[in-house]
Amino acid sequence: MEASQEVERAVQSELIHEHIVEIVSDSGEGAQKAGQTFGAVCARMGNGVWTVEIIPAEIKPPARSPAGASGIRIRLGSKYITNMGDEADLVVAFNEQVLYSRIANGAYKAGTILLIENKWRDDPVPEIQAQYKRALAEFKENGLIVHELALEEACREITSNPRVGKNMFVLGMLCHIYTRDVELARNEIATIFKRKSKEVVEQNYRLLQAGYDFASDNLDFRYEIPPQQVREGKRFIVTNGNTALGLGVMASGMELVAMYPITPATSASHYLADVFHEVGGFVHQAEDEIAAIGFAIGSSFAGKTACTITSGPGLALKTEMLALAVMAEIPLVLAVVQRGGPSTGLPTKVEQGDLLASIFGEPGDAPKVVVAPATIEECLHFVVMSRRLAETFRTPVVLLTDANLATGQQPYPRPEPSSEWLAPPIDQTDWDPQIPPYNWDPQTGLSPRPVPGMVDGHYVLTGLAHTNESKVAYDSKSNQLGCDMRSRKLAALANTLKAPTVYGDPEGDLLVVGWGSTLGAIQEAVDRTRAQGYKVSSLHLRFISPLEPGLKEIFSRFRKVMTVEINYSDDLSAPLITRENRRYSQLAWILRASTLVDVDCWSVVLGAPLQPGMIHKVLLERLSSKED
């Protein structure tokens, strides 16, 4: 202890604004836990934080394989952090092989500090020794600043099973490197291991301290990232996006979530399964996605608006039920945590590929509300909003998040729920028998809804074409009217929306339009480009069906408009691709159709969140291109 304090005095910490840290390991080595805890400590100290999980490509990958790279990235800064950033500044790795997958993803740069477990150098298997030495030589050649450290050996002084314990040791190291308050880390450990014995907690405290001292003894650098966030006495919480969804479900007053497990949506239901009963709610794990949405629809029909949570393949299965909810005007919240598609696609990776499927996925005309939260905080609030929209507009609401929001962690102001957030108790007063079950207001398409239990409210809900009395009707007039009324509701909703605000100047050379989880990366890229003197702005849409109003007018103030998205589009320079046959990214299709502006797009399907650096490069290219 004393010795380490001396060293602390010896190493002067460098003042910086932000750093990107990664912990990379084989799966099962606790890297994510260490990283999340570190992120929480930083958030508690008032720093801006964004964490992204690094998920292995295979379920049971062999040890020491690039496919098995598992871990976490933590971007921490003085200010509010909105995305994962570009290359990492510091990496802790438990073996060298897993780093290859990160290198393939462009995660590091010359100057990235690598702290690596050195036991492989003396591994009994000669081939492993050789691999290790080869890799390290390569890393150094590429400019990584390598520190080989005997992490496991140091842990072995405290635990007989360093494989399990070393993550808390690393947490201790990071606490030293970034001048973190160790007491806060101890509190986090106490929470993580609250169900474990006192010995386990004590052991982890010791590992934490040992890691701290080890870094102090062995590393000649140290950083300080002073928090500059203004929190104005507000309370903050830290969650990932899926937990935020779960919290939103509870705060919305919905009592039922019906689901079928699917990555990356399931953890939202895991969270709810743990706590939903505390607000009187229930998670129904159905036999499949069709049954899950059917169950939710049944509950909603009976007056208890429900939620179903899924991802791409599940959305595909739910389409027929979704159309039924549109046709029969049943309130419903369908959260889709997007992953890479089509088909089983990239189960753990991010994509924004389900936008068009959400809007147009059903045969026939199926107008519905489609919204997309752009931050983790919005994941929570949008569920509350979606439940209200679903009931007011008597419609399903599709809420699109993605794998990036789902697993990313970020501090945000703690919501203060009030009774208005909750669903009102179901109305069981008598229904006026003169009022048909779909008493459409011809202006808005809105109608009040009878609920089972109401005397004289009885009607037979049907997915067949029907009159306002819910009587099956195959005649032309009834069908036209029903379609008109369902569509009218979207226009009515659109009329209540405000035009989106432009980030940056209200006019200029280029406007970047995005939606969903890319908000932070796009804005950061816009900032960098503007700092170089370019006239670029951005705009982020939350409502996509109906679209937020005023877009055409906003677009007219810019020389060029383009979307930036994580989904597929043809690159104009690819073989055979022309302006005529080019397939655009999903939001671009929508914007082109609705504004008749020649909206351009840039989109990729790399199975990774967009980084500000990538977008920045694209913006510079587009701004300098002569072609119009």
Binding site: L256, E287, G294, F295, S299, K304, M321, P411, P417, H458
Partner: protein, 317 residues
């Protein structure tokens, strides 16, 4: 007036329901269709049991038989092909006080809805499930159904059904947590009424396979059975369904079968040379899923807010 308590008289006289209260639009099934008789039995039973129409919900899939909710004066949900059961279960999940009925066809339940059939039996929510089995797809005009007899000619198998039929009774009786399985034919109205009544009174999923006449597309199947009433086997037991004299005259063969004996029920169901009619199996102690799914419905706003605040506090930094 007359020394009578006004409250008392109000309750008794204002809330008496007649068959008319349960009847909806005019039934549009073909003349001679077995569905008419089932509808009549349901209306009569609801009247006899005085179930409030506003707390009754008839749920169905798609098919001729699934038109049933339209002919009810209660709440109804004419859903999607094969999906009546998940919808019905969802209705029941947070509103266990509702009296839920399900009408489903042999295609609806035993083909496209198979997964839901199996799992709904396992959930065992308190509802009455009537599987209208006419051995054919009626609404879509004569395609083979899972219960079409081998060799039965349809538009999809013009030279005759190529697979032996699925046995819905053995399947249902093989599902964990099954609590009530009965079978009946539509052309024995008193028995039909009694079977539906027993299913309705049962606490849990009352599953009834109704062998149903479709004079348009599968006349030969029901005719063959109607012409050989000795193939029908009445199941008699004190714990079973009461069988009146007319049914005994109609069907000469009967056995004593204890409906609490699952192995015996499976054996009876397995023997397809006979058509067992009556109660095959009943277990009144099976777990009903809504006892779990409806937990917390009574929570007050205050309690809900306290719960959500506690959840948020766990993430507070």
């Amino acid at each position: 007036m007359f020394g009578m308590n006004a409250d008392w008289s109000l309750e008794v006289f204002e809330r008496y329901f007649t068959i008319g209260d349960y009847a909806g639009g005019e039934a549009r099934w073909c003349p001679g269709c077995g569905d008419h008789g089932v509808l009549t039995a349901i209306h009569k039973l609801l009247r006899d049991e005085q179930v409030p129409p506003e707390t009754t919900v008839a749920v169905s899939g798609i098919g001729c038989s699934s038109r049933l909710p339209h002919y009810m004066g209660t709440y109804g949900f004419h859903g999607l092909h094969g999906r009546a059961l998940p919808i019905a279960c969802g209705i029941k999940s947070r509103r266990p006080e509702l009296d839920v009925w399900v009408a489903t066809g042999d295609g609806d339940c035993f083909s496209i809805g198979t997964a839901h059939w199996i799992h709904a039996i396992r959930y065992n929510m308190d509802m009455t499930v009537l599987a209208f089995d006419n051995s054919v797809y009626g609404l879509t005009k004569a395609q083979t159904s899972p219960t079409s007899p081998l060799g039965f000619k349809t538009n999809t198998h013009p030279t005759g059904a190529i697979l032996p039929p699925l046995n819905p009774l053995t399947t249902t009786l093989g599902i964990t947590n099954v609590s009530f399985v009965a079978q009946v034919v539509d052309w024995s109205p008193p028995l039909l009424y009694e079977v539906i009544k027993a299913a309705h009174r049962h606490k849990g999923t009352g599953f009834v396979r109704i062998i149903q006449r479709c004079p348009v597309f599968s006349d030969s199947v029901s005719k063959a059975l109607q012409n050989s009433p000795e193939r029908v086997l009445l199941l008699q037991h004190e714990k079973g369904i009461p069988i009146d004299a007319s049914a005994k005259r109609q069907f000469p063969n009967s056995i004593t079968h204890d409906p609490s004996d699952l192995a015996a029920a499976r054996a009876v169901a397995e023997d397809t040379s006979r058509i067992p009619v009556g109660l095959l199996y009943q277990n009144t102690d099976a777990l009903c899923y809504e006892t779990l799914s409806s937990r917390g419905t009574e929570f007050t706003v205050k309690k809900r807010l306290a719960g959500i605040n506690a959840a948020l506090d766990r993430f507070t930094i």
